[in-house]
Symmetry: C2
């Protein structure tokens, strides 16, 4: 059980917990603060936390769900009360409510926004009082989730999951100062999560790991895409990444790829078929051709073991959206059990030792 992984947890874990975050909406309760995008800016480590909050509890027999509604041209969070005996809905999943006739989810029980936390030492974080990016348009009516931050020059591009009754899409925004932010809209249509944009052009183009979710044919796994301008994407093809037991059910992009001497270090997530446990794995892609997999980790480089990883909102999850290399050490921030944030560090050499060439 206690297999050694190259990543070692910070003693201070969990670093950010829901009690450290003031709710955005009056009367709401912050239930999770996790899956943060990561940036180094102005000598600080920044986390862009996915912060999920719930409306006040409904009376017995009812449930309150949040939803963004448009009023006089502006979008605001409203609360809708549903009866648990309403035959149209299936309430068995605590995170989302199924429309029985349509066969899809029509409400989420919490709404997420993106909140900034800052740290000088990368371990002790101060969480801002207000959202950095809040859902404020039709395509974000169910929330903004799971940011990834890619620094290109002096601009930080933030891609995030924009969820609405229309589906689960990936949207793009940018900031230069983490104060003002400009939204660019949806760059990948539904169903697309877990997009990681590479921080440099390769072959004269921008590249991203994408994670389309097919309905009929195929599996949820990592693809590649390319773009001339970060806004329009094409050249789609699956990443030829060997699959293992730990990511046998699905995998997807995790941290934004890190340039290292021997290629692109990709830290990605996977879930297994047996228990739906979410672990982190690593791969090395060729510097000049991200479609070429040079090496991959047959075993997870981090898996849920600590109590804050095995117990939470969704148990047995470690899920990174951002990491960086400093002094030959990889600092990987990660959401734990869909509730809190942790940090694990690996010596680059130890991480590389865990990788093997793909057998193909």
């Amino acid at each position: 059980m206690n297999k050694k992984t190259p990543f070692i947890r910070a003693e201070e874990n969990p670093l950010v917990t829901p009690d450290m975050v003031k709710p955005w909406q009056k009367g709401f309760q912050v239930v999770c603060t996790f899956n943060a995008g990561v940036a180094q800016y102005g000598g600080e480590v920044l986390l862009l936390l996915r912060t999920a909050e719930k409306p006040p509890q409904a009376p017995e027999g009812f449930v309150n769900v949040p939803e963004l509604i448009q009023e006089h041209g502006n979008w605001r969070v409203a609360v809708r009360t549903l009866s648990l005996s309403d035959p149209r809905y299936d309430f068995s999943d605590p995170r989302k409510i199924l429309d029985r006739e349509k066969g899809n989810y029509v409400f989420l029980t919490s709404i997420s926004h993106l909140r900034l936390a800052r740290s000088r030492d990368g371990v002790h974080f101060t969480v801002e009082d207000q959202p950095f990016m809040a859902p404020d348009c039709e395509m974000e009516a169910f929330g903004a989730e799971d940011a990834r931050i890619t620094q290109i020059g002096d601009t930080y591009f933030i891609n995030y999951t924009a969820v609405s009754p229309h589906g689960i899409t990936t949207a793009l925004a940018e900031t230069k100062d983490f104060v003002r932010v400009r939204k660019h809209g949806v760059i990948f249509q539904t169903e697309a999560r877990d997009v990681c944009i590479f921080p440099q052009k390769i072959q004269g183009k921008y590249w991203a790991l994408t994670r389309p979710v097919p309905r009929q044919i195929g599996e949820a796994k990592i693809w590649l895409a390319a773009s001339p301008d970060l806004l329009h994407w094409g050249e789609f093809r699956p990443l030829n990444l060997p699959r293992f037991s730990w990511d046998g059910a699905r995998n997807g992009g995790g941290a934004v790829p890190i340039p290292v001497e021997s290629g692109w270090l990709v830290l990605y997530h996977g879930a297994d078929r047996a228990s739906n446990r979410y672990s982190m794995g690593a791969a090395l892609l060729a510097k000049d051709d991200p479609a070429r997999v040079l090496a991959v980790s047959p075993e997870p480089v981090l898996f849920a073991e600590a109590e804050y990883e095995t117990k939470g909102f969704y148990p047995n999850v470690v899920f990174s959206c951002g990491a960086f290399l400093r002094d030959n050490e990889v600092h990987m921030y990660y959401g734990a059990a869909d509730r809190v944030m942790g940090l694990a560090r690996a010596k680059l050499a130890d991480l590389m030792s865990a990788l093997r060439p793909p057998v193909q």
Copy 2:
């Protein structure tokens, strides 16, 4: 039952049937020739037929499925024989075979390619003996389906559904002469069918109707996308198209949009919840802003009534991938019952009379 629609069927229907098409693969049987892309070229009407063919019948208790395999660097069609008693698979759908453990489809029972047919009068067609575009790469391992042809200048852009074990994607190709064709690869990642590219730039960009299929949240319906170069797409948003009973289950792009004086005429397909009957509807989008719906048909403009539409490979389907305007008459070619090709014509004035402004 016999509601009057603006579209009137050609007396010669069905225009193309499987017996008119020689199989691509030796020993295979052409079972369907339908959902054709349409072009006007060199004084002729061209149909780019989706032609589906089946391997020779397997012995009792077995089924033969086609699959593209790579041999010495080239892709060719091979036949795999599966036992009907193999517990891994569910054979109940005659079109595709489900992997019970994975929960997705892992084989199709036929393989489609794109075959050209030519006609001087638009009614009597001669079908070429060989494929115009055959599946020949990893992303087309289960076939190439449902072409749409968009003429821009002297180039004909062909987008089509590329199906493989990786999923259902949309790929792009181009030709200037319908002899030589150049493939550009996948422009929309899985799950994407029913893409219709507008034949002119609008607001300085190319536009397309797309039809993503969500898995968890949202419905299969028409979206819009924009592109600087036809290869990379973004600016995704759902088309704000009112839904009716006839397209209550899902809708998607049909014929390539036709510029008319008052806007873009869009002929699109929809299926109803009650019977999954596929009908054609019409909408008018603003010439300078395709996101703006000016009018829409509350009733189908054509629905399955004729015997070749109500009986076939998949019954009760009319499904157009291409149409054109000539002498104030819209000529709409359409697949019928997923088996044959038909033609229906409508006076533009009659079609416009069937449209109503959206109530919003």
